[in-house]
C-alpha cells in the first residue's frame, strides 16, 4: 500500500519540524496551564486568591479544555498529552461542578428549611420509631410491675444507686432535687452529649441492617426509662419524675426518635426500594437521613446543656415542665409548621 500524494518532501519536512498535533498543542498549552494553576489553587482552598480575571475566565477555559480534549483524542497520538488533558479535565470538572456553597451558605439552607423538609419526609419512619419507644417504655413499666427483679436487669447500674425498688420516698425525692454545686456541670453536659450522640449515630447507622437493630436499640433505651417510671410512680412521685426528665428529655428523646427514624428510613429503602433500584433508593434515603442526623447532633448539644445545667440549677417542677414542653413545642413547630418556600 502506498500513498505517494501524502509523502511529498515538503510535507514531510513540516512534519519533521513540528507535527500538526504538536502545533495544536503549542497553540493552546498556555491556556491549559493557566487553568491548571487555577484548579490547583482552588483545590488548596485558595479560591479568594484568584484574580477577578481568572474567575471570569474559568468557564471559558474549562469549555475550551473540553473541546481540546475531544480534538486531541481524535487527532493526536501523544499519550502523555492525552493523559494530561484527561487528568486536568477531571480535576476541573470536579471544581466546576463540585463547587458547593460556603459553610455559611450551607447552614442557611440547612436551618432555613432543609432540615425541616428532611424531617417531614421521613414522617412514616418517625411514627414507627415513636411506636417502638412507647412500646419500650410500656414494656419496662409492665415487666417491673410484674416482678421487681427485672428492675436490676433493665436499669443501667449508674442509675441504680439509691433508686432501687423499696427505696423510701425521701431518698427518691433527693435524687430529683439534689443539692449540687455548679462546678462539675460542664463536664456532665459534655459527657451526656458525647454519649447520647454516639448512641444516636449508632441508632442511625444500624438502620443499614433493615432497621431491625435501630428498633431494638430504641426499645432497649426506653425499657429502663419505663422501669424507673414505675419505681417513682410506686412512691407517688410521677409528676416530679416526669418534670425531672422533661426539662432535657423532650429534646433528647425527640433527637433519639429522629435518629432511630433516620435509621429506619434507610432500612426501609433497602427492604422496599419501590420502583427505584436499590442503589438509587439507598442513596436518596441516606442523604435525607444524613440531614436529619446533622439536626440530631445539634439537638443533642442543646439537650446536653439543658441536662447538665438546667436540670441541676432549676429545682422547681413547674418551671421544669415549662422549659421542657416549651422547647418541645418549639422543635415541633420548627420541624412541622415551618415551611418556607423552596428557593
Amino acid at each position: 500500500m502506498s500513498e505517494p500524494a501524502l509523502h511529498s518532501p515538503g510535507e514531510q519536512a513540516v512534519a519533521a519540524a513540528v507535527l500538526r498535533s504538536d502545533r495544536f498543542r503549542l497553540e493552546r498549552e498556555g491556556d491549559w496551564q493557566r487553568l491548571d494553576a487555577m484548579v490547583t489553587a482552588m483545590e488548596k482552598g485558595k479560591l479568594r486568591k484568584l484574580s477577578d480575571d481568572d474567575v471570569m475566565a474559568l468557564p471559558v477555559l474549562y469549555r475550551n479544555l473540553l473541546s481540546s480534549l475531544s480534538i486531541a483524542r481524535e487527532s493526536s497520538l501523544d499519550a502523555g498529552l492525552i493523559a494530561y488533558l484527561e487528568s486536568l479535565t477531571l480535576r476541573a470538572y470536579f471544581m466546576v461542578y463540585g463547587t458547593r456553597t460556603s459553610f455559611g451558605g450551607w447552614c442557611r439552607s440547612f436551618f432555613g428549611g432543609g432540615l425541616s423538609r428532611a424531617v417531614r419526609s421521613i414522617w412514616l419512619d418517625l411514627l414507627v420509631a415513636l411506636a417502638a419507644m412507647v412500646a419500650g417504655a410500656v414494656l419496662g413499666f409492665w415487666l417491673v410491675d410484674g416482678d421487681t427483679d427485672w428492675y436490676f436487669r433493665l436499669v443501667p447500674s449508674q442509675f441504680s444507686d439509691v433508686r432501687v425498688p423499696g427505696a423510701s420516698r425521701e431518698a427518691l425525692l433527693n435524687t430529683l432535687f439534689g443539692e449540687t454545686d455548679g462546678d462539675g456541670l460542664g463536664v456532665f453536659a459534655a459527657y451526656l452529649f458525647s454519649n447520647n450522640a454516639q448512641v444516636a449515630i449508632m441508632a442511625f447507622a444500624l438502620g443499614f441492617a433493615f432497621g431491625v437493630p435501630s428498633i431494638l436499640l430504641l426499645v432497649y433505651n426506653m425499657v429502663g426509662l419505663g422501669a424507673m417510671l414505675w419505681l417513682f410512680a410506686s412512691r407517688g412521685l410521677t409528676v416530679e419524675f416526669i418534670g425531672w426528665l422533661s426539662i432535657h428529655g423532650t429534646t433528647e428523646l425527640l433527637a433519639i426518635l429522629l435518629a432511630g427514624g433516620a435509621g429506619l428510613h434507610i432500612g426501609r429503602a433497602l427492604a422496599f426500594p419501590g420502583q427505584r433500584s436499590h442503589l438509587v433508593a439507598l442513596g436518596q434515603a441516606g442523604r435525607t437521613a444524613a440531614q436529619v442526623m446533622a439536626g440530631v447532633v445539634v439537638m443533642l448539644i442543646c439537650a446536653g446543656l439543658l441536662e447538665g445545667f438546667g436540670r441541676q440549677l432549676i429545682q422547681s417542677t413547674a418551671i421544669r415542665y415549662g422549659i421542657g414542653y416549651g422547647i418541645l413545642a418549639l422543635w415541633l413547630a420548627y420541624f412541622f409548621a415551618f415551611r418556607p418556600r423552596q428557593a
Binding site: 519533521a16 482552598g45 502523555g80 492525552i82 463547587t99 442503589l279
Partner: protein, 308 residues
C-alpha cells in the same frame, strides 16, 4: 474493540475499574474507581494520623496537669480541671466523628490518606458531592470500624472480652471490610447509602514535546538534519501501540533502552543500527511514524498495533 488511543493511557490500570462519566457538555471522561489496595492504604494512613493527633492531644492535656504538680502549685482549681475534662470529652468525640467529615467536605474531597494515594470521593451520578452525602458516608464508618474496634479494645483491656465476643467483633469488622471487594464499584456500606464512590484523581504534569527536533540538529554536527528519512514501507510496520511505547522510551530517555529499541527497529526495517546517534534516530522515526498515523486518523483510518 477499545479505542486505539486508549492503549497508551490505560496501560497498567485495571480495565474492570474503568468507568465513563459523561459531563453535561457531552464529553466522555474516563474515571477509574480506586482499587481496594489504595483504599486500604489511605485508611491506614488516616488512622495513623488520627491516632498521632489524638495522642498528642492527650499528652498536651496531661502536660498541663503535670506542670502544675511539678511547680508545687496548689492543686489545680476545680474549674480548670473541669474545663480540661470537657475539652477531653469533646476532643474524643471529634476524633471519632469529625476528622473524615472535615477533610471530605473540603474542596479536594479527600483526607490526608486519600490525598497521599491520589484518590478522592465523588458523587456516583457525576453531579455535585453534597454535604449530606459526605455526612452519610462517614456516619456509617462509626459502626463499620470504630464501634467494634473500640468495643474490642476496651473490653480486651478490662479483661472481660470473651472468645465469642472477640470472634464476633472480628467477623463484624471483616464483613464490612470485605464489602468493597464484593461489588464492582468498590463501594463500602457508607458509599452505598450516600450515593458516593471513591475514584482516582491523578495529577498529571504536562511533559514537554516528545521530539522537538533538537537531537537531530545538535547531536552530530557533521550530519544533515534530515539524515533519517523513512519510506512508506519502513513506517508501515508499526501501529499506535508501538508508537506510544516508543514515546515512553523517549520520555524515560534511558540510553540502554534506546539502544535496544533502535536496534530492534533497525532489524525490522533492515537498516544498519545508528551507533551513538540513537536518540536522533528514534526521534525521527517517532515523528514520522506519528505523522503517518495521525494523517490516517484524520481520514478515519486507525491502526491499533503492528498486528492489525
Amino acid at each position: 474493540m477499545a479505542r486505539a488511543a486508549d492503549l497508551g493511557r490505560t496501560r497498567g490500570r485495571d480495565a474492570r475499574l474503568q468507568r465513563i462519566l459523561v459531563t453535561p457538555e457531552g464529553v466522555a471522561l474516563d474515571v477509574h474507581v480506586a482499587p481496594a489496595s489504595a483504599r486500604a492504604a489511605a485508611l491506614f494512613i488516616d488512622l495513623g494520623a488520627l491516632l498521632g493527633m489524638y495522642i498528642a492531644f492527650v499528652l498536651a492535656m496531661l502536660l498541663i496537669v503535670w506542670t502544675f504538680e511539678w511547680a508545687d502549685m496548689p492543686a489545680l482549681p476545680e474549674s480548670v480541671l473541669g474545663f480540661l475534662a470537657v475539652l477531653f470529652i469533646i476532643g474524643t468525640f471529634l476524633a471519632r466523628n469529625a476528622y473524615f467529615l472535615y477533610f471530605e467536605l473540603g474542596q479536594r474531597a479527600a483526607t490526608w490518606g486519600k490525598r497521599a494515594v491520589g484518590i478522592r470521593v465523588a458523587a456516583r451520578d457525576g453531579g455535585r458531592l453534597t454535604a449530606e452525602a459526605v455526612i452519610a458516608r462517614n456516619l456509617l464508618r462509626d459502626i463499620e470500624l470504630f464501634l467494634p474496634v473500640m468495643f474490642m479494645t476496651s473490653s480486651g483491656l478490662q479483661g472481660s472480652l470473651s472468645e465469642f465476643a472477640a470472634w464476633a467483633g472480628l467477623a463484624w469488622v471483616g464483613s464490612f471490610a470485605l464489602f468493597p471487594l464484593l461489588n464492582k464499584d468498590r463501594l463500602r456500606c457508607g458509599d452505598l447509602i450516600a450515593g458516593t464512590w471513591v475514584v482516582q484523581a491523578p495529577k498529571a504534569v504536562l511533559a514537554g514535546l516528545v521530539a522537538d527536533g533538537t537531537a537531530q540538529r545538535e547531536q552530530v554536527a557533521g550530519l544533515a538534519d534530515d539524515r533519517y528519512r523513512f519510506g512508506e514501507a519502513e513506517l508501515s510496520v508499526y501501529g499506535e501501540y508501538e508508537l506510544q511505547t516508543l514515546e515512553q522510551v523517549l520520555r524515560t530517555a534511558n540510553p540502554e533502552a534506546m539502544e535496544t529499541v533502535a536496534a530492534t527497529i533497525c532489524g525490522k526495517i533492515g537498516w544498519p543500527p545508528p551507533i551513538g546517534d540513537e536518540r536522533a534516530f528514534l526521534e525521527a522515526y517517532y515523528t514520522q511514524l506519528r505523522a503517518r498515523l495521525e494523517r490516517g486518523m484524520r481520514f478515519g483510518r486507525r491502526r491499533a498495533n503492528k498486528n492489525s
